[in-house]
């Protein structure tokens, strides 16, 4: 693993990407531990809608809450939603993709058709259905985003799994009489780590985008806590009066996504220069 980190740091975009993501994770952890300049929920209504000042580096919002603290909590919330939704989608997607590739025929056809149905289904209605049935809140946005990404992960796993299945070392394992679960976990899974990690980083970038889209339509994170998407959505109507409410969250979202994309690119080059060819 040490060699992995060294090559990551040597890779030009890897360095920047890893730095940004690390910074975000630290900020997220700090905010969860409550170490923000102000209490993100505390409303100093007399000082509302102030631009950047010494007291409030990023100014205050319409309730007089400190934008910097809300940004930190927002990053924590957006990351929580991003990591859990992408994680959920990755687990389910891998399970489906792997079994579809390994057992093939009927099960493969069924899984892929189900994925077609999910992909063909407008994400907005899916999100609305979840939010309406399960009720609004962070957990629902996680479910909604996970539901949208599961088909993508299934395909990203199924492609390489199909090609690894034909490799000699899988035949060798079958010739020893290794159990299917052994082959699936040790042989197929381990060799899927590379394309999966790359897809996870890219999906994390995408989930930040989707979360902000959902919040813009009012289907995402619930006030008074904040996520990057919600802060963006709320800032829209105040764009002319308080531009900083739009600028800082927008920059934060862009930087976050940039970090994930750079990291994803670097991982792709480092982990599997060859595997890229295999990815369907």
């Amino acid at each position: 693993m040490k060699a992995f980190f060294q090559s990551l740091l040597r890779h030009p975009s890897g360095r920047i990407g890893a730095a940004i993501v690390l910074l975000y994770i630290i900020v997220a952890l700090l905010s969860q531990a409550g170490l923000t300049p102000y209490d993100p929920l505390k409303q100093f209504r007399i000082e509302r809608l102030q631009g950047a000042t010494l007291a409030h580096w990023m100014g205050t919002d319409m309730f007089g809450r400190d934008v910097l603290s809300r940004l930190m909590i927002g990053i924590g919330q957006s990351f929580l939603v991003a990591f859990s939704s992408v994680g959920l989608a990755a687990v389910i997607g891998t399970l489906l993709g792997l079994t579809a590739a390994w057992f093939g025929h009927l099960w493969d056809g069924l899984v892929m058709r189900l994925m077609d149905v999910l992909l063909a289904f407008p994400a907005i209605l899916l999100a609305l259905l979840f939010i309406a049935v399960v009720g609004p809140g962070t957990f629902t946005s996680i479910l909604a985003i996970a539901f949208v990404y599961t088909p993508i992960f299934t395909r990203v796993v199924r492609g390489p799994a199909l090609s690894i299945k034909t490799r000699d070392f899988v035949d060798a394992a079958r010739s020893f009489g290794s159990s299917t679960s052994y082959i699936l976990t040790r042989h197929l899974m381990l060799n899927l780590v590379a394309p999966l990690t790359v897809q996870v980083t890219l999906a994390l970038a995408w989930s930040l985008l989707t979360e902000s889209g959902l919040s813009f339509l009012g289907l995402g994170t619930q006030p008074p806590n904040s996520s990057l998407g919600l802060m963006l959505a709320d800032s829209v109507n105040l764009m002319e009066m308080a531009p900083w409410l739009l600028i800082f969250p927008a920059l934060a979202v862009m930087l976050g996504i940039l970090g994930f994309n750079l990291l994803g690119d670097a991982l792709r080059d480092i982990l599997d220069p060859r595997m890229r060819r295999v990815v369907a």
Partner: protein, 320 residues
Amino acid sequence: MNYLIRRLVTFPLVMFGVSVLVFVAIRLVPGDSITAMLGTEAGLLTPEQRQSLAVYFGLDQGWFSQYWRWLSGVFSGNLGISVTYGKPVLDVILERFPLTLELAVLAMVIALGIGLPLGVFAATRNEKRSDLAVRIFAMIGQSTPSFVIGLLIIFALSAGFGILPAMGQFVPFLEDPLGNLSQLILPAMTLGLSFTASVTRISRSAVLDVLGDDYVRTARAKGAPKARVIWRHALPNALIPVVTLSGVEFGYLLGGAVLVEQIFALPGLGRLVLDAILQRDYALVQGSVLFVALNFMIVNLLVDLTYVMLDPRIRLGGRA
């Protein structure tokens, strides 16, 4: 050829899946057409009034018979009547579809028009400064939420220059090409920008892969100049991953880009679905979602067709 027919067989299966999912989904969501129309005033309805409205909206039947009647209608092309538009669902959809179609096509043209040459350019200048510059641009493009770009464009144009594309209604291309383009070019750019970034990245890595293949070396051994090697030999083989990505993205775009349509106030398919949901216009929701799903499947089929066209190995199968 039979590869295609086998694909077509899966169509009804998927469409059936989508139809069941949308039928159940919209009914599971609390609040029915009556509350959507009357809002809090619905509380004033007496039981008889509520029953007569239920008949008007067709909510009185059990789910199964509603589904069965709607499905049998679908086969004969009658997707039912939209309550809010007072018109057959199919007419409403076909009225809104040209805008979304044109927006999707324009966005794709922009994305492929800029993304592909840029990607190829970056691949040939591998690891030089210009390659890095292109990749950073691509990264920025992909990192900005489309609705932020849209809002900034509108704000800049209207506040800065006081000019703005005609908003609200769709100016068909045939009637007034200039008006149409001025209306759609900005939303298409907003949609296209992030996709341009992914096309650039995918085509760059695809071309890089292909340049390492043996037949490119053979082409050079034949004395083929640099440009010919790229455009005649490398690009056709590098197109396949780009086609895959464009297919999936085009399928999404055909479903209507809700956010961009909302900001630029364009009556497209995306907003049609959203408004139909908000107004609990069941027939319209089911019809439009089915239409979007059909589009998605057709686009997937087109992508497979282009595979077959691009790659003779798939078209002709094994050894002659």
